[in-house]
């Protein structure tokens, strides 16, 4: 079960620039920290975050271990047509999560 919180407007006027904010539960384990047994805890991070609007990529971010746990990303998008924004997170250990938001543009 992925735990994701996304804030985006449900409606927008054509041409409006809207802010999209996204939080996801993830440890973002750096791969540099020793665990209780003294051995390094293997890296487990989200490597990539992407956003598409009706299938076209509008934003992408490559993340490093320097991104804080439970990553937060905010970016902007110009509302040109009604549609579905799909946010995707992928990373180590086969991590993949997705969240869809419908935005009606009038």
């Amino acid at each position: 079960m992925s735990n994701i919180l996304v804030n985006a407007p449900k409606t927008a006027k054509r041409g409006d620039v809207v802010e999209i904010k996204a939080l996801i539960m993830h440890p973002m384990e750096t791969g540099f920290r020793p665990g209780p047994n003294g051995r390094i805890i293997p890296r487990n991070i989200i490597e990539r975050f992407t956003a598409t609007w009706n299938g076209a990529e509008i934003f992408a971010m490559d993340m490093s271990p320097a991104i804080a746990a439970n990553p937060f990303v905010s970016f902007f998008a110009q509302a040109n047509e009604s549609g579905t924004v799909v946010l995707r997170w992928t990373g180590d250990e086969g991590f993949a999560a997705e969240h869809r938001v419908d935005i009606t543009v009038a």
């Binding site: 620039v17 904010k21 665990g35 934003f59 490093s64 991104i67 902007f76 110009q78 040109n80």
Partner: protein
């Protein structure tokens, strides 16, 4: 605490600063060069919003923005953030385009120590822009021992 563990811990403290796994201003410069090649970034048009003093380095809010009309003809293509002293110099690389309407990206980063953060933007005309900020990371009191 187990004596051997204590000794091992002490050794780690002594050895770590000399270890290979720490970024330096040079490592940051190297990482930036990988992105901009031989270009010289121009200081300006950018804003790096990060608190000058943070209570905890594990979650530092950071917002980068670039003055840009974000049109097809004139827009920001990418924003990269680097640091001097974490184990690796790269923080994130974001790809943007005219569909963003506004060249502004926010996230939260980890800072292992007080250091300088540099953000670089690439615009559609092939130019690079830069902005830097110094962050002082104070150490929280009453931390947790390793579980």
């Amino acid at each position: 605490m187990d004596r051997r563990l204590f000794l091992a811990g002490t050794a780690a403290i002594v050895v770590l600063p000399l270890g290979p796994a720490a970024a330096t201003p040079d490592a940051m410069a190297e990482a930036i060069k990988k992105v901009i090649g031989e270009a010289t970034p121009i200081e300006g048009r950018m804003k790096l919003d990060v608190p000058p003093l943070v209570e905890n380095g594990s979650t530092v809010p950071l917002t980068v923005s670039v003055e840009s009309p974000m049109t097809e003809a004139d827009h920001v293509k990418a924003i990269h953030v680097f640091n001097e002293k974490n184990p690796q110099p790269n923080v994130f690389s974001a790809r943007l385009g005219p569909r963003n309407g506004k060249a502004m990206v926010g996230t939260r980063i980890k800072l292992g120590d007080s250091q300088r953060i540099v953000a670089i933007a690439e615009t559609s005309d092939g130019k690079f822009w830069s902005v830097g900020a110094d962050v002082i990371v104070t150490l929280a009191a009453c931390l947790e021992e390793s579980p």
